[in-house]
């Protein structure tokens, strides 16, 4: 029985990459979920493109009327809560933080990613248009870029490919790919399979992955916590 991990489980695995004091930017989609799984006692400082560091959790649906404020939103437009030690700055300073390499970890969604770490995630393939937004600056400049994604498209095609078919967000930017069946490191020599979801073999994963996978000596089952 080859079950795939849930979106929450992918986020849970990514949360294990965080560290105390890390400056982290979470993209739209699965990446946003990562903040729910930060280990107790660890200080993670979230960065938002619109000029904010160290903000608190998203306003829960039931508190929306009381707490939602258009002047306190994250880059996805979600209402968030204030937190002691947060601070605000303008957009150019915010991207100075990104471009200057002060974001430790950027977690981004994936349309396609290659064995060279090329990432495509901004152009909506069906519509022929796309929003570059702040993702390109993050992909180019964050110290570590983690791609968070289902391993295949809805119709079962590999998202980890030899070459991107849609316009790139950034060439060679992805360091780690966390999918619903695997954890894969992007090395200078290509892709290195490091972890697999319960029940999945190397061959199973390779079959759904276009480039060749090298297998880590310490290959193991994905640990979520």
């Amino acid at each position: 029985m080859k079950e795939r991990l849930s979106r929450e489980a992918i986020a849970m695995r990514i949360a294990r990459e965080l560290f105390d004091g890390a400056v982290v930017n979470l993209g739209i989609g699965i990446p946003t979920l990562v903040s729910s799984f930060v280990p107790e006692g660890m200080t993670v400082i979230y960065h938002s493109e619109n000029g904010m560091l160290g903000f608190g959790p998203v306003v829960p649906a039931e508190d929306m009327k009381e707490l939602a404020d258009i002047d306190l939103v994250n880059a996805s437009g979600q209402y968030v809560q204030p937190k002691p030690g947060m601070c605000f700055f303008h957009h150019a300073d915010s991207f100075g933080i990104i471009r200057g390499g002060h974001v430790d970890i950027s977690v981004l969604g994936v349309i396609e990613v290659t064995d060279h770490g090329d990432l495509a995630n901004w152009m909506f393939p069906g519509r022929g248009v796309g929003n570059i937004g702040g993702g390109m600056d993050l992909a180019f400049n964050a110290k570590k870029v983690i791609g968070a994604t289902e391993h295949t498209t809805k119709d079962g095609k590999p998202k980890i490919v030899k070459q991107c078919c849609v316009p790139l967000t950034s060439p060679g930017c992805v360091d780690l790919i966390v999918t619903d069946i695997s954890v894969i490191e992007v090395t200078p020599y290509g892709l290195l399979l490091k972890e697999y979801a319960p029940g999945w073999s190397v061959e199973d994963i390779q079959a759904l992955t276009e480039p060749e996978l090298a297998v880590a000596k310490d290959l193991k089952e994905i640990e979520l916590v």
Partner: protein
Amino acid sequence: MLNKVLDSFDAAVADIPNGAVVMIGNFAGPGGTPYYLIHALARQGARDLTIVANTAGGVGLTLDYDDHRLLFQNRQVRKVIASFPFSTSASRPSIAEKQILANEVELEIVPQGTLSERIRAGGAGIAAFYTPTGAGTVIESGKERRVFDGRPHLLELALKADFALIRAYKADTFGNLVYRGTARQFNPVMAAAAAVTIAEVDHIVDPGELDPDAVVTPGIFVKRIVQVKEDPGFPRHPERTFQVRGQHQGKEA
């Protein structure tokens, strides 16, 4: 004596001519968007505008409201320079999106960091700068590439405007501005990059009422100030501060 305070949004935008380059503070919802100035510009009717803003309006994040999509709806826009020009929803394309795809409006799409830095450069007298962002992507097209420290960079040019429509929290009568939370966004960099900056604010106070160490936009950048006197009905608690004390909790976020 200096008098920057105007009574009406319509008066504040009355002299924006056809063909003007207009920057508009805007990001993911109404926070920091000069809602009333945009409506006044829509009423005023200037055409062939070049709009510089993060979005092209109506992108559908969180709240659906009349932002600068009104200017596209009125066919006042010739060109838009933006990082996030399209709707987030394929099933609800924005007005600008349709006009862009029909070649009725020209689009220059710019990565958000490059957009904000180009505007900052415009205000700060930097003609051009080299950024790594975009090298090896479609953004490189037509741009000069140059390697610094072994890494390719692109040459990006400053952006300036004839007018900037911005939103702030408080102004003093000299035009010094403070912002509230993430409503700051593009507003301070746009304030410096336009020949005429017009600020829509919650409160106008006397000089000396703002802490000079906490002023974000120096008053010299702001030519006109108009106070909002009605409630547009957005979720907002402007009387509250975002300064919260108490035990820091590592878990939440």
